[in-house]
Symmetry: C2
Subunit: 189 residues, 2 copies
């Protein structure tokens, strides 16, 4: 039996994207965003949605660039902190001791200590109401060598990414392998 909850932003899983930008003083900033996901395979694009008052939105509009930094479980406190305070008020790299690195392909910083980075060039944005949705073209993906599998691709069990639970307002890790995609479903054919 299903119960109606009304119009709410609850879906699973939602990501914990740490969005990196430079401000007008060249100061690197980061914020946490749970609204977003991959939006196109070719050109490869990722979408994030930001509230209009966000310091990061101003920075992206000026530099036309941002990074998405994927935190490991061990950085859950840093990731949460990045969503609590504004870069207008605090230097989040100084407070956490994490290291900003200038991206290779776009005018935005990434976090050295995080295992997976997407360097993104702003493609377009659309005003949806409380949030502005931004599409960034992924210009490069950078991966810690220690988080790679034998093929050099990301190993989810080494990255240990976070997921955000919007109903429980909590963070979870990734669980057990359930099976291969484009394979398990063949039994219904």
């Amino acid at each position: 039996m299903k119960k109606s909850l009304g119009a709410k932003t609850i879906v699973y899983p939602t990501p914990v994207f740490i969005v990196g930008t430079y401000d007008e003083n060249e100061t690197p900033d980061v914020m946490a965003a749970a609204w977003g996901g991959i939006s196109c395979s070719n050109p490869p694009c990722v979408s994030i949605s930001l509230q209009k008052h966000r310091y990061t939105l101003k920075n992206i509009n000026e530099r036309k660039a941002f990074t998405i930094n994927i935190p490991s479980e061990k950085f859950v406190c840093e990731a949460d902190y990045f969503g609590i305070v504004s870069g207008k008020d605090e230097n989040k790299f100084e407070k956490t001791g994490l290291t900003p690195v200038k991206s290779e392909f776009v005018d935005a910083p990434y976090i050295e200590e995080f295992p997976l980075i997407l360097e993104c060039k702003l493609l377009n944005s659309i005003d949806l109401g409380m949030h502005v949705q931004l599409n960034g073209q992924i210009m490069d993906v950078k991966l810690d060598e220690e988080a790679a599998n034998e093929s050099g691709l990301p190993d989810i069990n080494k990255i240990k990414p976070l997921t955000f639970d919007p109903a429980g307002v909590s963070y979870y890790g990734i669980g057990k392998l359930l099976g291969k995609a484009f394979n398990l479903g063949k039994k219904f054919r």
Copy 2:
């Protein structure tokens, strides 16, 4: 040490959204989409990206409506099957034995057996290249009573949602609770 992987659509976590639509013959169809996420808090919106040849895209453009159905772990084979075949070729509800139900607020079917449903009205779409990105306004969220916590909200541990690993081309469950959001980060203030 970071290694550059080039421009790829790899990010964690990505969702397994099962998108429900009616076709021109009133036949309910479902497909799997891993590109998408919440896109606005007010009005509540969710975004999905579909390849241009998708049967679902045609259906959404005609009905201006779709549902997002969140599968539990026990439906991982059904969810995968929904991403393997086209509704042009097979009746996916008949093949899997799942039950289509007409939505209450939009002109699209949902899957009775899945624990969490979003009923969505098409707001806008944008052509990004290989994919069209669609924003749907969430008109209602429906939850299985057995998947609710004591407050009536979704319990992630009862829903047991899937996540898709785009690098490993595999499905994973949700792992352990890491802590409360907007709280863990206070130690850096």
